[in-house]
């Protein structure tokens, strides 16, 4: 499946929260890949993704978000009603 549209939306969030130019993301990009992406910024990034995509992650999902791919998959699952 092509994730580029989702990755692009997520990269806008990351750019805003970290105050950096829009980064290039892959499914394997891990939290902490860019300067300033610490545990605090991670919380903000996840919260902003929830607000942009109009969804709420579960407690279990939040614990799994070590790579961007996990986030993308969680969004897709929710969109497919999973």
């Amino acid at each position: 499946m092509n994730h580029s549209a989702l990755l692009d939306q997520i990269s806008i969030v990351i750019a805003d929260v970290l105050d950096i130019d829009k980064p290039v993301l892959g499914m394997e990009t891990t939290a902490g890949s860019f300067e300033g992406w610490d545990s605090l910024a991670h919380i903000s990034i996840v919260a902003q993704i929830e607000s942009d995509f109009g969804l709420k992650f579960t407690l279990a999902e939040l614990a799994e978000f070590s790579a961007v791919g996990n986030i993308v998959q969680a969004i897709e699952r929710k969109r497919n009603g999973g």
């Binding site: 929260v17 105050d19 605090l40 919380i43 903000s44 919260a47 902003q48 407690l59 939040l62 614990a63």
Partner: protein, 599 residues
Amino acid sequence: MSAISSSFTIPIDANLLLRKKKAIRRTLLTESGLLKKKIAILGGSTTAEIKDILEIFLLNSGIEPEFYESDFNQYYEEIMFENAALKAFSPDVVFIHTTQVNIRNFPSLSDNDDSVERKLTDEFNLLEGMWERLKAEYGCTIIQNNYELPFARPLGNLDFSDIHGKTHFVAALNQKMARYAQVNTNFLVHDIHYLSSWIGLEKWHNRKDWYSYKYALGLDCIPAFAQNLASILMAVFGKSKKALILDLDNTLWGGVIGDDGVHQIKIGTGSALAEAYTDFQTYVREMRDRGIILTVASKNDLQNAKDGFAHPDSTLRFDDFASFQANWDPKSSNIRKIALEVNIGLDSMVFVDDNPAERELVRQQVPEIVVPEVGDDIDKYIALLDKSGLFEATRISAEDRGRHQFYQQNVTRAEQSLQFHDYGEYLASLCMSAQILPFDTASLERVTQLINKTNQFNLTTRRYTLSEVGSVIESRSHVALHGRLSDKFGDNGLITAVIGNIVADVLYIDLWVMSCRVLKRGMEFAVFDELVRRAIGLGVKTISGEYLKTAKNGMVSVLYRDLGFEKVSGAEGADSRWTYSVPSDYKGKNSYIKVNYES
């Protein structure tokens, strides 16, 4: 800059602040003239996001905070035990971020009346112990959250009335905090009990943010929390707003008085709209009663505008306003006229107008002023101003409660001054009398308020906390005087303070402030006479004064020259130091004020 300042609309855009905080912070830090303050945040749960958002609120209001953060949930230990790091940090303010997750002694169902009471006392003693220790050890201002309502009520509705209920316990504990705050002026309550209810407990008690990150409130509540907390800090640092500038048509009443006539405007109880405008007028009047200066800037014929307040159902009256500009000039020029008339800075004023074009024009032409985005729906106005925190105070003093009278008297004075050709004749006609006395504990609060709120007649803009002013009273090497002024129109209250520090035979004036209410009345000469009289008594040969320039205190840049000082360094109109050799046969400079030196 405009993109960033528009991040701070009132009401706030919580999500924008959370999302762009780094960019906003970066931009705000480029502003010059920021006031540096040290704030220690001692948390009973995670505080990182609170600190970040609080910082941008403070920066936006001209304060550059330096923070100290306690280790996670170590607020109690860091306060109660030896803490070299906090001591070295030397905070201006300590903020204790506790919530009901930090309550250690909630009752259990096996408790009886006595044991519940004991638990309440134990819990409160823990709090009081911290406050007393902070006062003794750090002498700083203390702010602490009260307690919000609990997340769950195992007892259901009984939780409120049963002695075992958490809701019941929280209410009792909050009441004890309120009583402590009433008698301890260095202690201020951050009322999250109200804030969380206003936002909604369901949103506040976000379990995911608690389990995942140990935030005791939902992340999306943090901007409102930080705004509310920042407003207390603004009050502590003398940055709260002082005046409201109000439009009339469709702001203080419904309809256009010039077109509709006074009997057709919507005010009173005749319709839903009329009731909403009456409620807004009532709220504005309550602001007046607590010391906020009311003014009008309206595009109207003066007589029509005045007639609106003669309407039998109008809560506000024409003489409630300290300045009344009803004409067809641009609002920006009327606003500048108001600032001159009431003698306060443009950045101490808030402009309320239902017309979006006027709001935008004023924002562009008078960038210092705050213009809330009130919209055109009158039923939103009260909540919007009320939650803005713009007018926060640390105390409401007798001076605050009587302020509108001072301004009413000033209008009468101004009318009278027109009858005189000679300003001296006018001053003489006022029959002024003053009391100039050393600081005493009774006036401590008002003196501190004056020191921290005065911006124009302020030679050094040094700020003193209540405890610092208190220690000046005790000191033998200080000469500290305050003055009251009254005249035939009324009492202006305590309006000036000066603090000097004696080293050998030199008196250094550390601070000198005077309220904008009594400028150009010659009171500075009366104060200086008394300062010199006391200085001579203490063997002082020289008085040394300093002028430190700010954006607002230009009016006193040559005060020392006018008092006969010689300039020793710096230039006139810039930071400068001045010296005065006290002549043994000093002749008083005051000629219009009868001074009483006894209390």
